[in-house]
C-alpha cells in the first residue's frame, strides 16, 4: 500500500465537512417553519391506520382485519369521488400527540438528545484543552 497521495483528499474531506456543517447550521438557524401548511398536509387518509388501531384496541378486532376494513372504506370513498372527512386542527394535533411513546411525534425525547449533546461537548472540550495545553507548553507560551 502506498499513502503518498492520500493527504490531499484527506485534507479536502476535512474542509468539505467543516464548511458543510457551518452552512447547514446557518440554514437551519434561519429556517421558518410554516405550521399552517404542515397542519394542512395532515389529511384524513394520512391517519387511516389510526382508525385500524382504534378498531383493534376498542373494537377488539384483529389488526389485520381492521386494516383491511379501513382500507376498503377509504378506498370506496376515494373511488366514488366523495370528499374525505375533514378533521379539525385539534383532532389532528391529538393524533400526533397520541404517539406518546419515546421517539414518537408526541414525545420527541429531545431532553435525552440534549443531555447526550452536553456530555459529548464536554468530552471534546477536554480533548481540545489537553491538546492546546500540550502545544503551549512545548512552544513556551503561557495559557491565555
Amino acid at each position: 500500500m502506498d499513502f503518498q497521495e492520500t493527504k490531499r483528499p484527506f485534507m479536502e474531506a476535512l474542509d468539505i465537512v467543516q464548511e458543510s456543517l457551518q452552512i447547514c447550521t446557518l440554514v437551519v438557524s434561519v429556517l421558518h417553519v410554516n405550521s399552517e401548511r404542515l397542519v394542512a398536509a395532515c389529511t384524513y387518509e394520512l391517519f387511516a391506520t389510526d382508525r385500524a388501531y382504534e378498531l383493534a384496541l376498542e373494537g377488539h378486532m384483529p389488526f389485520r382485519d381492521a386494516y383491511r376494513t379501513v382500507g376498503t372504506e377509504i378506498t370506496a370513498l376515494l373511488d366514488s369521488g366523495q370528499p374525505l372527512p375533514v378533521e379539525s386542527q385539534e383532532q389532528l394535533v391529538l393524533r400526533l400527540a397520541a404517539r406518546s411513546h419515546l421517539g414518537g411525534a408526541g414525545n420527541l425525547g429531545l431532553t435525552q438528545a440534549h443531555n447526550r449533546l452536553e456530555e459529548v461537548e464536554s468530552v471534546w472540550k477536554k480533548r481540545v484543552e489537553t491538546f492546546t495545553t500540550a502545544i503551549q507548553k512545548l512552544v513556551g507560551i503561557e495559557k491565555m
Partner: protein, 128 residues
C-alpha cells in the same frame, strides 16, 4: 449526528497515539524515550509496535474519513429534505431570500443553492 459523533470519537481515540520513534518502521538504535515524547505532545498513549506504526497509516486516516462520510451522508439527507419541503409545492419551510440563488431559467424561482451544494459535496467527498 450524535451517532456520527461516536464514530468520530472512535477515530479520535485511534488517532490519539504517538507514532514517534518508529523511524521508517524498524525503530532506531539509540535509547530514546518514546513515552516521554508522547506525553510532551499531549497524546494519551503511544503506538507500541514500530512496524504497526507504518502499517496503520492508511487505517487511521480511513477511520477518520469514514466518520466524516457518515456526517456528510446525514447532511445530504438534511439538505434534500429542506430542499423538498421548501419547494413552492410543499411550502413547509421558508428560507430568507438572502440565502437563495436565482434560477437560470425560471425568473421567479428561488433556489436554495447552498443546500444543493451540500448534497453535491457529499458525493464529491465520497469520491475523494
Amino acid at each position: 449526528m450524535l451517532d456520527d459523533e461516536q464514530l468520530l470519537s472512535a477515530a479520535y481515540v485511534l488517532n490519539d497515539q504517538s507514532p514517534l520513534g518508529s523511524a521508517a518502521g524498524y525503530g532506531v538504535p539509540i535509547p530514546i524515550d518514546r513515552q516521554y515524547c508522547a506525553d510532551l505532545l499531549g497524546f494519551s498513549r503511544m503506538q507500541n509496535n514500530v512496524i504497526y506504526v507504518q502499517n496503520s497509516r492508511g487505517k487511521i486516516e480511513g477511520a477518520i474519513v469514514q466518520a466524516l462520510a457518515q456526517i456528510m451522508l446525514d447532511l445530504s439527507k438534511l439538505a434534500q429534505d429542506i430542499l423538498l419541503f421548501s419547494t413552492a409545492e410543499y411550502g413547509f419551510f421558508q428560507v430568507p431570500q438572502e440565502l437563495c440563488t436565482g434560477s437560470s431559467i425560471m425568473p421567479q424561482k428561488r433556489n436554495l443553492g447552498v443546500m444543493e451544494l451540500v448534497r453535491a459535496r457529499t458525493q464529491t467527498m465520497l469520491a475523494l
